[in-house]
Amino acid sequence: MATKHKPKFAMYWAASCGGCEISVLNIGEKILAVDEAFDVVFWPCVADYKVKDVEGYRDGYIDLCLFNGAIRSSENEEMAHLLRKKSKVLVAFGSCASEGCIPALSNLTTAEATFRAVYTDNVSTDNSQGILPQPVTKVPEGKIRIPSFYQTVKCLEQVVPVDYIMPGCPPEAHQIAAVMDAIISGAELPKPGGAVIGAGTLAVCHECPRQKNEKKIARFYRPHEIVPDAETCLLEQGIVCMGIATRGGCGALCPKVGMRCEGCYGPLDDIPDQGANMVSAIASVIEAGSGPLGGVDEAALEREIEAALETLADPAGTFYRFSMAQSMLQRVRSNGS
């Protein structure tokens, strides 16, 4: 039951997987404190409020709105505008909302190709007539509209102003709990305007307990090609661990259990492009070209380096796995050669 004096809470999912909602519930019994402190006024995952209800709220009615998911369709964007208008504090919650995440990997192809993969070329799909979803369909009774599908996946900040960014895929429960504690206790938050909350300020490597030595990588391995040893830095073993170019705060969960950091907390402060940062870092630590340089054959040197880097599969998809929408290039150039 909504009582008047409690602050209002909303959570919404746009193009997302639902993992962010799970992560919020993962804060354990703290969720009871959240429930006690807030009135939930919109949260499609857990409460039966409709968009009509939100439209009926006065502007700024919602005190805290956690928005997760990327902007993939016109519906996502409409909801972003609606919730921005109705919310005092809008948080880009999770990697999709803050930087595009997995949905934005489709910026490496075109929307047409995405449709083909999903609706026609998929081996488990029988669509012999090649029917594709249309934003407007005429039927005898009139027109049926569905949201249209954007060519480029965007993050929340690219369609509406955002007060805070909470990275992570999903944000770790202990970070969510800490942020909720801070909000409920009235502690001072950083100045809004896109500040990052619920994350660290140092790279994942800083939290990673693995042994780090001087790096000289002879070749790269994909995760299925190698069983990493339990002690040494994964990057030193030739696994493309993104920890060096990724914001910490997660506690280095993945490298701790032998899985490379995939970069879900995004770039560190003042790094405009995580992928470029990673190119720079990786290139500095490969072995090729580190021999004596006197009288070196320049073409042979380039070939040696090319051969070593050829073992690194899919650099764009690996380095921008989570940050494609927020990257400098943002998407593929489909009119190019």
């Binding site: 016109s74 964007e77 409409e78 505008h81 490496l108 929307a111 047409e112 449709f115 979803p133 249309q134 934003p135 509209r145 249209s148 599908f149 954007y150 060519q151 480029t152 965007k154 900040e157 690219q158 369609v159 509406v160 102003p161 955002v162 405009p272 492009d273 992928g275 470029a276 940062n277 190119v279 720079s280 290139a283 500095s284 490969i286 070209g289 580190s290 340089l293 006197g294 009288g295 070196v296 320049e298 040197l301 380039e302 380096i305 880097l309 690194l312 899919d314 650099p315 764009a316 380095f319 400098m328 290039l329 943002q330 998407r331 593929v332 150039r333 489909s334 009119n335 190019g336 050669s337």
Partner: protein, 166 residues
């Protein structure tokens, strides 16, 4: 492509060799394409991949990185680091649909004014043949709309610049 297209090439030139090569090309009155906008850096390894991406995003048609020959780096092996970055960056740019000729690395010693001039001439012609890149205006902006037709509700925000300008 119009006849009057003049490629804009951002050139990052190493202070110790290629920038002097450009100087030499000037004092020796070598005629070469005026399309490169030189930026002096202390070493080709100073050129972070994000500099290249930023140049491309903000309107450059190509980027030239010029440094000392391997073995002659003022900082021992900065140029080899630049080469490694360049090789990896080039592979990544290919995935974004950017042609190889648009980002080039050349070695030009302080005495090789002609080498630098020829590289600029060659690159200018290659890019002239490829046509303009204009990444932001021709790739990012047009793809900001919707895919299938216009359902009449496309929001103005989809056409505005990204909220956080790089």
């Amino acid at each position: 492509m119009s006849e009057t297209f003049e490629p804009v090439i951002v050139g990052f030139l190493c202070n110790w060799c290629s920038y002097r090569a450009a100087d030499l090309a000037g004092t020796a009155r070598i005629h070469y394409a005026p399309n490169m906008r030189p930026i002096r850096v202390m070493c080709s390894a100073r050129v972070e991949p994000q500099f290249v991406l930023k140049a491309l995003r903000e309107g450059a048609d190509g980027v030239l990185i010029a440094g000392c020959h391997p073995g002659e780096c003022h900082y021992v092996e900065g140029n080899v680091k630049a080469l490694r970055r360049y090789v990896l960056l080039k592979r990544m740019l290919r995935q974004f649909g950017i042609e190889e000729e648009r980002v080039q690395l050349v070695w030009a010693a302080a005495s090789e004014g002609t080498v630098l001039a020829e590289a600029v001439d060659r690159m200018t012609e290659q890019i002239r043949a490829l046509g303009p890149l204009r990444w932001y205006d021709s790739v990012v902006v047009p793809a900001s709309g919707s895919l299938i037709g216009d359902d009449g509700r496309e929001s103005a925000a989809t056409r505005t610049r990204t909220a956080k300008e790089k």
